[in-house]
Amino acid sequence: MSAIRDFDCAVKHSEQMLPGVVRIVFDCAEIASAAFPGQFVQIEPSPDAFPVTRRPITINRLTKNGFELLFDVVGRGTELMAEMKPGDMVRVLGPLGIGWAIDPGSSWLLIGGGLGAAGFQFLMDSVVSATVLIGASSSDRVIPLEACHVVTEDGSLGGKGLVTALISEKLLDETDSIAVCGPVAMMEAVWNTIPEKHRDKVQVSTESRMGCGWGVCDGCSIPVSGGGYKKCCQEGPVFPGVEIDWKRWKEAGL
């Protein structure tokens, strides 16, 4: 593992982008210049004693002098992060983990579920060609991405249905790499929809409750095929789809 670095980053911008979803931009040239698509940062939600651990968030895209995050407000940690204002200094560890494996010139199919698409922008900015499929419960859970195909469960944006409906044999044939990110159940459904012969192309971005985020606590285990676990934070968060033990992973829950 390469050296990790901890920075005091200034909040440059913060806004509510969708209901309950915050977009925040940090200034930090060091993290921006070191980051690869699919990597994450560990945010310290408060300088106070609690929460005791940080919160992992995927880098959604690079900005001029830093990076942008998109996150769902789901608990105390993300609530505190939602209160951060421009000028606030925040402890950020990163970039962390192993991101998408990108072959030069390859064409990509990106399949995202709701906020799972947070991070896709960075990937899109880094590859030559990408087709994006997004499924979400409703329109206010859809992250604005260029030229993407959207379905929603309630039909409030794009077609009505699940993202698996957008996956076609033709798309899969045309693509070299497939990136999947979203809730576990959605990712499993996508995995099951993709025929055997295309599965080697699939990479998935996993999530797990994290302690350290840098490989020392063994708290973020993802069950892998053939038994045992890998560390989401250090050996992931992006894994080849074939490496995941989908059954045990789904049973684990978050």
């Binding site: 609690f50 929460p51 302690g211 020392v216």
Partner: protein, 291 residues
């Protein structure tokens, strides 16, 4: 003892410029920290627990944060002592500070068996004998509540190594002072006070626990007074040095534990939040004491 306590310590016959030890389970095997500059300011590193056979560890999720602390259910995940000796310890040879190996077991004999194998290596200065993990035995019970068992474990370890070892006790039942005395009788050269407190979180809406074993090890800066009390009790009862473990989040917490009688002070949860915690705590302490 003189007050304020000195930051430089003598422990197991060695001079330490820092009392801060990186606690077992939160610092890998040290080798992972090597390139990470996390060891600046650390007096010593304690490896994660090593058992005889490989252990996958507990089912995920293994962590759950509550409003004021962290529950962990790692379950002594490790590749087993032979793998550790062959693949992990050689990399730890270049550590800038001493290494202790944390040893766990499921029977009295396993501890000595693991230590025997580890004796092949020379990179570590000693052991921490973990008779107290709340995440291994069923229902969170720990081995080390019975002074008799502690005595036998310590005696077994003494027989197979000439290196010093600390026995890490549990606060979850039993009588820590009696267990500490038994450990010393069995040959322990230090007592680690203490492993994690048993904790649990239940979702009241469903009755379900995120953590599958339900009970887990709980850590929090709010537990500092519990650790201070236990360090004080044990250090007043035994002649060997006490290593504190638990509750530290600030430089003054380290100083308070030294004042309570600890010779060295471990940090676990804080290190997970702050990879450079050892150096940060040292800076705070130097500022506070002017040392």
């Amino acid at each position: 003892m003189s007050f304020p306590p000195a930051i430089r310590r003598k422990f197991w016959g060695r001079d330490f410029s820092s009392p801060v030890m990186l606690a077992s389970g939160t610092a890998g095997f040290g080798e992972e920290l090597l390139d990470l500059q996390c060891l600046s300011g650390a007096g010593a590193v304690v490896s994660k627990a090593v058992t005889f056979n490989p252990r996958e560890g507990n089912l995920p999720p293994r962590l759950l944060e509550t409003p004021f602390g962290l529950l962990n259910s790692i379950g002594l995940a490790n590749p087993g002592v032979y793998h550790v000796v062959k693949h992990l310890l050689p990399a730890a040879a270049g550590l800038p500070c001493p290494l202790l190996i944390n040893v766990a077991g499921e029977s009295v004999d396993e501890f000595a068996d693991v230590v025997s194998v580890l004796e092949e290596c020379s990179v570590h200065i000693g052991y921490e004998i973990n008779v107290s993990c709340p995440n291994a035995a069923e229902g969170g019970a720990a081995f080390g509540v019975d002074p008799d068992v502690v005595l036998r474990v310590a005696q077994g370890v003494s027989k197979v190594t000439g290196r010093p070892f600390s026995v890490k006790l549990t606060p979850n039942g039993g009588d820590m002072v009696q267990s500490a005395k038994a450990a010393v009788e069995g040959g322990a050269s230090a007592i680690t006070v203490c492993n994690t407190f048993l904790g649990m979180h239940i979702d009241w809406e469903t009755g379900k626990c995120v953590i599958k074993r339900k009970v887990a090890g709980y850590t929090s800066p709010a537990l500092l007074p519990l650790v201070v009390a236990r360090v004080w009790q044990v250090s007043n009862a035994v002649s060997v040095p006490v290593i504190s473990s638990g509750g530290v989040s600030r430089g003054e917490d380290v100083l308070q534990l030294l004042a309570a009688g600890a010779e060295m002070v471990q940090i676990g949860t804080r290190l997970m939040r702050r990879p450079f915690a050892a150096g940060e705590l040292m800076d705070e302490m130097k500022k506070l004491t002017g040392e």
